[in-house]
Subunit: 379 residues, 2 copies
Amino acid sequence: MQSSKPFFKLETTSSSSKARAGVFHTGHGDVKTPVFMPVGTAGSIKAVSPRDMIELNAQIILGNTYHLFLRPGCELVNKAGGLHKFINWPRPMLTDSGGFQVWSLSKMRKITAEGVQFRSHIDGSPFTFTPENVMESQRKLGADIIMAFDDCPAYPSSHQEISDSLNLTLNYTNRAWNWLKEHPALYDYPQYFFGIVQGGLFKDLRKKAIEALIELDLPGYAIGGLCVGEPIPEIYEIADYSTDFLPSQKPRYAMGMGTPKDLLQMILRGIDMFDCVIPTRNARNGMVWTWDGVLHYKAARYAKDLNNPLDPNCDCYTCKNFSRAYIRHLFHAHELTVFQLTSIHNLRFFCSLMEKAREKILEGTFESWAGELLKKWEQ
Amino acid sequence: MQSSKPFFKLETTSSSSKARAGVFHTGHGDVKTPVFMPVGTAGSIKAVSPRDMIELNAQIILGNTYHLFLRPGCELVNKAGGLHKFINWPRPMLTDSGGFQVWSLSKMRKITAEGVQFRSHIDGSPFTFTPENVMESQRKLGADIIMAFDDCPAYPSSHQEISDSLNLTLNYTNRAWNWLKEHPALYDYPQYFFGIVQGGLFKDLRKKAIEALIELDLPGYAIGGLCVGEPIPEIYEIADYSTDFLPSQKPRYAMGMGTPKDLLQMILRGIDMFDCVIPTRNARNGMVWTWDGVLHYKAARYAKDLNNPLDPNCDCYTCKNFSRAYIRHLFHAHELTVFQLTSIHNLRFFCSLMEKAREKILEGTFESWAGELLKKWEQ
């Protein structure tokens, strides 16, 4: 079943940058862009319950097909009525295809004409992902947005290697799209398929990728193959270049990005959607993001800081109720609640950064606002 | 400042057992008994946030003076305005005295006339606890109920050893009570001091302890020195014996107990208050308590159990929203949310067991209700 509403509506584009505000409609509600999607790898945002995710206003969360395929298995999730029901998440979800995880996590990876053979990082069991069976897995998982299965080449690679890899990704994407057209959604809401633009740091290959994917007229487009070790300015440059060619009426998603600075820089370059493990991973390791920059909450200088929350300008549960001294104490006392409380804060910060960015874009003041934040965070 | 209301009101005593229902009044609200007090050792219930503790209806929580003294220190908690404010817990609290932890956790323990010398289990630093300085620590922490500093002898010990230890505890208790009378509470609500009945498994010593403590006319009495390795029936026997001599108009607290079965058995023997790490510790290790008995949620037989929550008869957040298959998946996928969700369930189970017990006591049907549960749980 496809909804009668168009999937994505571009609301405004800034007159002084490529920053955009839009909205996409799914069977589980609307998502306003720009949007940050917290990562719930194996069916759980690390240390944060679904109701706390609702409260911090995560509009959409991400699941990893690779992880869910291995454990608990897509069959079980299908029996549960889909991932939303299995994990009790009422809002939109996106699943990635596993292409990146097969490259970054699995113990062995062998690319064949059919697909990719790999061994599980959990127990070494052998599996093959094909464009078709990954779409079947994503049909069973039932996310509102599903991603193409792509090949992720290492950085650095030669033009020839990236070109060959891109051809494989384009072939995979065609096969996936054809399979989806023949195999409708299993649940009573649509699944929107995004193609992934590959091409490494080679502009001609990025352009070729975009032109080929535009031919398919997909619901949305992601920029993939970033954040694999290349310098950050090169990432910005590739994003900036790519959005010149991507259709304005489709959402653009920069996969695996990034820091708050990265998010603002990428919004300036016309990106609408982001995901990253940074907020939860950093929280667990002792670092939180605030409107004034990074704060290392384990530091001795916060041992007696009873009067300030992690971020005085934050409206999250943690900042409304607990001092830096208490959060620091929880960490040093090995109390599990520290992971929950700091993850809630970081996730809320990322979500509220996107809410504020959207507000500023709609007001027409995004560039000066983002510029001031970027300047402050450089210090 | 002492409240004008009497601290404890006994509402009813069963006509067919020693089971009692009562209420105690504190500066942070009333507590209805029988009551289970979740343990928040170092200022946090493991894996559960204060608001989730409120939701699962924990009436009162416990903190450990030993842990808080070492980290973050009672001075800091005092600067925060007391433990309630430091950890953001609006309801009543109890702190124990550290006597048990000095015995069970510290690296070295040397008993002197003044008090107990020990080395921190964290870094080996040397400290001395005296009845006076432990009261001072508890004044700074500011719990609504504070415990006497006692000596905890090992099990088994001879009559002579337990007798000597008891004399020390009684001496300590007298000194603590005198110190408290000379040093009023630091915050604007009263702190109620409980004496601890020691005496091991020797009834003559337990009786001697009770008689001596009754002389002091304390707000409440705890039975200590239990759960140190002795057979469970002996614990029940000592509790049963002790409550024959404890004043009916004062609350009775069995320290460190116990399983749901223990709680029911101890209520039958006239105990009002309990604390134990079992609900949270077992939850983290894979075991939850249900109205039908114990459930090992890691087991393969729950891998596909999508239709049942941990306990179909439980009203906690976890049971209202997640299946056994999902909980099991979270554990095996090493997701931190499993600790939060299972701890919430176990704590809610212990609290609701006490709520139901109280209801049955007030109705006059506690014995048959408890008997049926105990029979079911034996199977």
